[in-house]
Subunit: 380 residues, 3 copies
């Protein structure tokens, strides 16, 4: 029971409903070696610099703070000792112990990443909650392309696949920030242009999809379904150019989708989270995600959350962990969120700026209620 | 007497002179219905998202914190109860009670917004202070265009109107950030180009002015008068593209106006307030406004003010409320400013970083003295 | 002995090793008049605005906080009294007293600025430490150009001079941010293009170097030596366009230099320090400097340092003062660093987020160990 489990992590989590993690990924089914474990602590896809380790980061320190006690070790114990204990327990027991301590009751899981990872139902079962799928558009297109060389066939299959996915998945996700940058032509590409682009791409063997026409087409297909569309914005791995991932660059797309009835959820956002909060404040169909930004900033999570809470209407912010690969990242994401929320709202109540009742209500909105409403989940 | 009134609001306001609100707007003469009231709490010009309300924002919470006690209700009381009490008092009495509690002694009021709003003298009379006019350039041009179809006649009338306004108004304001963005060609457009642009615009029936040549011409006309020019920068309603409103984009205009003797005042600035503070630090004729940014960030006002105070020389920051429509926004803007100033400077004195005497002096500079000097007000 | 001297400044400096100031400049050999002194407190190259003084800035207040006690006066005493005392002591004694109080043991000094300034060995001798040279590329090119009119001769001499400098200097520095902006074509320019550009530049009398081909060529020459390359990013004097100095604009250059074995050190960074920290997080050869940003933000130094520490791996941040002209700026830079570090890490230890042992270790890394490793200094 997630609600019971809240108590297993320190922090002012009391009174929050089971969390809805509206954007996360599967975790490794097998036990990672130490180097693989460390690589999941960073957004870098490269080795650490000589003389440094990925454990010497806020994410590394946060794992050492929150996770060892859940496996019976003292907080801040050295990485080696933690990894040895983890290896002794095995991956399944580690997953179960860690996920059950997060207080997460619902997982909206992006299935578009590679690796031997747990799926939505499996992750949720480990954590004692419910799982739903988020479909990554670019992965969907790349998988379909593997089965065909014909552009017409491909585009038909793609349209069908997106429509089909909308029946079972709770949302779509676009990583156009990585593939092209967010300064996207917001107009739907003409059908002829889509076919031409598809033909070229398939002829080239359908490599990693970066064609702007096809990327725009994917976004438009998703918007047409009415399912919320999650868009990566802000920091991520170095494939991405940070300044091309400023969510303010999405303004034109935001304007042209304002009357479609489809909600846009800006993921991550950092260090442009104030820009994302602004868009959420002035456009009814725009929402902002606070995940990842908290996971990677450790004891600064309260400050970053507070910056989100400057302009963002309280009905527009959504909790997530963006955990990937390691169940530890679910622990860190949820523990930092609950600690940061308690610190920030607690301070505002103490100073008289907010009432305690408002703080409780807003906490529940960000933790779960907003996501339930936006994604149409039971109880929302 | 504003000085007496300071005590009516909680907060460490002691010792501040009557505030000079160097950028504000009129308030509604009539009683707003609940939906209209809520719409003034946001920069959005659209309805709230389904399941949300504009009261669930920092501006909404700040109104509920500061205003009910001024009308005899408990802080944080529900919106309905507050609005009922307000309706019972009537708009004139509400205005008087709220404005008299702000500690504002001088109002520099932008008269370029539509609506049945109080003017400078009227607003100041309600608040017990002095009122001055700030002339919005684009509105001036649009009003003049309504009376003529002849380009030559129009440009002559425009030049005359700007010169005339400079005799009575204390400053000009440009909203070129909304109409074009701040990446403006800083060169004065050639007279021939101005006439051509005016002809096209008038022939089209003089719609909302967005022609870059005419917008640049307006800026140059204002700069030539020597009156301070207020420029909207940073966040605002969704007409604006946030990334095109970064004050750093004004650098070329700042350079070309450096020796004109005219001061430029960067309004709002958020979330680019550190950029604005930088420009104020390195260019003698550039100033930065802290209004609006505080009103919309509630208990984060101290943090935002502190960010302004990193690079901005203390003689270069100006208080404002940017209040518009609701007298509540005057209350919130001034209360948050005084609370934030007390918190930030109080902490710096406690830690030994600043002396108490310096803190008192800098507080008075930002609250009133800088504005008196820049706008040439009595006592400045 | 720098280690002993740490105690002369207040602040939680206990336990830090002698600091390595990895980016600084010489100080004036002569006594500055009051106007010259004040001009060194700002990045502006212009006079203060009418009615204001450069002492009314965070840098001015920080000098008045930390320096008077080192010359036997009370903290926060008026500028005139401080300057009179300083004049009485004379420049040599003032330098000695102030530098010995900083706790800096190693000076990496950029020798590319004009003025009657102390050199690396001389500055280090005054402070009781060791000095090393950082060679500024653009100054090197401009000095060489003074001796020749022949493009071939010049480019040969330039290549030789960079190679020679790499034997004695510990690093190179580029101010391409000032001369062109950071959105640089990352490709090495073709030899023919370099010769053409050199010919034009020499024919024009070799004015201030702003030719993008020659600027890019300089960067490539430096990268080829394997010595760390310091790049100015973020704020500086108004020569620079702030938005063109966002380190994110360096992404392409960062990518093309990833496998050269040469480290890139992003200087200053503010207000784009979160962007710089991101680059340091995802690219092994990228480092970020926290100097200047602390010196100019006074009691906000802890907040700015904390923002750096969100994404930046702890092995990637480097202390500096960026002091220039006044020994006071060495005092302010080191005192603010030690105070900020003590505040930030102390809070994180108190809250349980970090262990005390980790905090001590990370403090030493930023203060000295990272710089020793990156620049190959003894003990590193």
């Amino acid at each position: 029971m997630p609600a019971d489990a809240v108590g297993s992590l320190p922090g002012p989590a009391d009174g929050l409903p089971p969390l809805v993690d509206h954007h996360c990924h599967g975790v490794l089914r097998h036990a990672p070696d130490p180097g693989t474990f460390a690589a999941y602590l960073t957004e870098s896809d490269r080795p650490p610099a000589a003389g440094t380790t990925f454990f010497d980061t806020q994410a590394g320190f946060a794992v050492r703070r929150w996770c060892p006690p859940l496996l019976g070790l003292p907080a801040h114990c050295p990485p080696d000792r933690y990894l040895a204990r983890r290896a002794g327990l095995g991956p399944a027991e580690t997953r179960r112990r860690l996920l059950r301590a997060t207080g997460i009751g619902t997982y909206l899981l992006d299935t578009g990443l590679p690796g031997d990872l747990t799926g939505p139902a499996e992750t949720a079962a480990d954590g004692g909650g419910a799982g739903f799928e988020v479909v990554r558009l670019e992965t969907l297109a790349e998988r379909l392309a593997a089965g065909t060389r014909d552009a017409e066939e491909f585009t038909d299959a793609l349209a069908r696949a997106v429509r089909d996915a909308a029946r079972t998945a709770v949302a779509f996700k676009s990583v156009v920030a990585y593939r092209h940058g967010l300064a996207l032509d917001p107009a739907p590409p003409a059908p002829g242009a889509v076919h031409t682009a598809a033909r070229s791409w398939l002829a080239a063997g359908a490599p990693r999809l970066t064609d702007p026409v096809l990327l725009r087409h994917l976004v438009q297909l998703a918007v047409a379904t009415g399912r919320p569309l999650q868009l990566h914005t802000g920091f991520g791995d170095p494939d991405l150019r940070l300044d091309h991932a400023d969510p303010a660059l999405l303004t034109d797309l935001v304007r042209t989708t304002a009357d479609t009835g489809t909600d846009l959820v800006l993921l991550h956002c950092y260090p442009y989270h104030r820009q994302a909060a602004y868009l959420a404040a002035v456009f009814p169909h725009v929402y902002a995600d606070i995940g990842l930004s908290l996971t990677h900033t450790g004891p600064r999570a309260a400050a970053v959350l507070a910056e989100f809470l400057e302009l963002a209407p309280f009905g527009k912010l959504l909790f997530s962990t963006d955990a990937y690969g390691l169940p530890e990242l679910y622990v860190v994401g949820s523990a930092l969120f609950r600690t940061a929320l308690g610190t920030v709202l607690g301070d505002w109540v103490s100073s008289g700026a907010w009432s305690a009742e408002d703080a409780r209500r807003v906490g529940a909105m960000i933790a779960a209620d907003n996501a339930r409403r936006v994604y149409g989940l039971e109880g929302g």
